[in-house]
């Protein structure tokens, strides 16, 4: 069975490019264009990995998703799903946003920058999904 990757990003072009790439490497790709939609899809499809855009324009909605998945009880069965947060800015988000103490605690598995380094992305996904699969064995 193919590994499922959920792409959460409000830019449809970015999603189209990455979807094509991942499908070409045997992944099943699901898409969501907002944080809310993304959370719904996590619950409905239980993906093996999540690629999540920070979504600066909508008050860094991306962090809301990570926070929910990692801290809220209602998502407890999805807490283990690896999350890769993606943004087009090079510096670590910590340096850019004066975050509240709470938000500072929100850590995805990795921060990736756009455009995605393709070999790197494929490697990270393989490791993350592979690890998930083996922990479920």
């Amino acid at each position: 069975m193919s590994a499922k990757v959920l792409l959460i990003d409000d830019d449809s072009d970015f999603r189209a490019a990455v979807k094509s790439l991942l499908e070409g490497h045997g992944y099943d790709v699901l898409e969501a264009s907002s944080g809310h939609e993304g959370l719904r899809m996590v619950v409905e499809h239980k993906p093996d990995a999540i690629l999540l855009d920070i979504m600066m324009e909508t008050t860094v909605e991306g962090y809301g998703v990570t926070h929910s998945l990692r801290y809220l009880d209602e998502y407890i069965e999805f807490r283990h799903i690896p999350i890769f947060m993606v943004s087009s800015i090079e510096e670590s988000p910590d340096e850019r946003f004066p975050m509240s103490a709470e938000v500072e605690m929100i850590r995805p598995d990795r921060y990736l920058t756009k455009p995605l380094d393709i070999p790197e992305l494929l490697r990270f996904l393989e490791t993350a999904v592979g690890a998930a699969k083996s922990s479920m064995a």
């Binding site: 072009d13 189209a16 490019a17 909508t58 800015i89």
Partner: protein
């Protein structure tokens, strides 16, 4: 001459009752607020409470000296204009006061005219200082917005194009060709156009803010320039199956303004009305004059604007974004630019909208008046010129 602010305040500090009274009478006739105080201590308290634009203070008073009042006033607010009243032939003290921060001095005895003159000069100076302070603040904000603009608005389409090309290259190497390859090329081209529009709009905004778009202030007849704009967008309207209608009253829609600015202003409203319309719909631009204002309404028969978006409609880069749907096309700067232009002209822009029927944008601009001088300043002699159209 800069515009007088509403109710500027001048504090008068003098231990002489008659002096306080007459200064107050003279200055109140000029439309100023004039709190008076009989000594330095109460005067300083008054300055802290009233936050005046100007302080007129007698140098020779018992208790806290006039000189000390000067420095203490400037501790409260360094921008307050201070005029000192000095004794006859007391030039030394006057010079000392000015070195200490006073703007000017008025030797006793002085006439009402002399007082008026010096107060007017001082207030003018104050207005200019405040204006330049506003400009400084605005410049900082502009810089900050520019950084956000570059780091986010410009980057987003660039990143999408870059990602498409990266994936194409990668798949090429592995011998794959994605099914939607042709579509990707079109998408890249569209995103590039988006970038170009963003940059163009941003430059327009910069010009509006910098006053560079505002080349000349002349009498403009809106019933002439608006039909021209409609004609320009006739093909675009045809494309969207939208009809354009003008209902502009002849010979009275005159405003003081710059043709370029006015064109950009209505350009944005009209293209929006065409874009956010429905097939078979209409865009109606109507113009009338009422109570000294030229009122132009741009109405569309689109889906209407949800209440929750209305407070943000004129914000920079604001675009309606409904869940799941693509962002509405456009740079998000059009309405912001229009509002900016309208504000610079001393007018207002509002929107009425009904979900399902459409929206109407109302632009109100001060009507051109015969009494206005060539340099563009308004001379409100209080006359009511009848400008209602017959």
């Amino acid at each position: 001459m800069s515009e007088p602010a509403t109710s500027e305040t001048v504090v008068v500090i003098d231990d002489d009752y008659a002096m306080r009274l007459s200064c107050r009478k003279i200055l109140m006739k000029m439309g100023l607020r004039v709190p008076t105080f009989e000594d330095g201590a109460s005067g300083l308290e008054g300055v802290a409470n009233w936050k005046p634009d100007m302080v007129v203070v007698d140098l020779k008073m018992p208790g806290i000296s006039g000189m000390e009042v000067i420095s203490r006033v400037h501790e409260i607010d360094p921008q307050i204009i201070i005029v000192v009243i000095t004794g006859y032939a007391a030039i030394d003290t006057a010079v000392q006061a000015m070195k200490g921060g006073a703007y000017d001095f008025l030797p006793k005895p002085f006439s009402p005219d002399e007082l008026r003159l010096i107060v007017n000069r001082g207030l003018e100076r104050r207005r200019l200082a405040l204006e330049s302070q506003r400009h400084r603040i605005e410049r900082t904000m502009v810089e900050r917005r520019f950084v956000t603009f570059v780091s986010h608005q410009l980057r987003t389409p660039l990143v999408a194009i870059h990602q498409y090309l990266d994936v194409l290259k990668h798949l090429d190497e592995t011998g794959d060709t994605p099914a939607g390859r042709r579509e990707w090329i079109d998408r890249c081209l569209t995103r590039i156009e988006e970038l170009q529009n963003l940059i163009a709009d941003w430059l327009t905004l910069a010009k509006v803010e910098g006053g560079a778009l505002y080349k000349e202030r002349i009498k403009v007849d809106l019933s002439r320039i608006i039909p021209d704009i409609l004609k320009t967008y006739q093909p675009m309207a045809l494309d969207q199956n939208v009809s354009l209608e003008a209902r502009l009253q002849e010979n009275c829609l005159f405003v003081w303004g710059d043709r370029n600015c006015l064109s950009v202003l209505f350009d944005n409203l009209i293209t929006n009305a065409i874009k956010y319309n429905r097939p078979g719909g209409t865009v109606t631009v109507s113009g009338t004059v009422s109570r000294g204002e030229v009122v132009v309404a741009v109405a569309d028969t689109g889906v209407g604007i949800p209440e929750k978006y209305r407070p943000f409609l004129f914000d920079e880069f604001f675009r309606v974004r409904d869940e799941g749907a693509k962002k509405t096309p456009g740079t998000g700067l059009g309405l912001h630019i229009s509002k900016r232009i309208v504000s610079e002209m001393g007018g207002t822009v509002d929107v009425d909208s009904e979900i399902g029927s459409g929206s109407t944008f109302w632009v109100r601009l001060p009507a051109w008046r015969e009494s206005e001088e060539a340099d563009g300043s308004q001379n409100d002699a209080g006359r009511e010129t009848s400008t209602d159209c017959r």
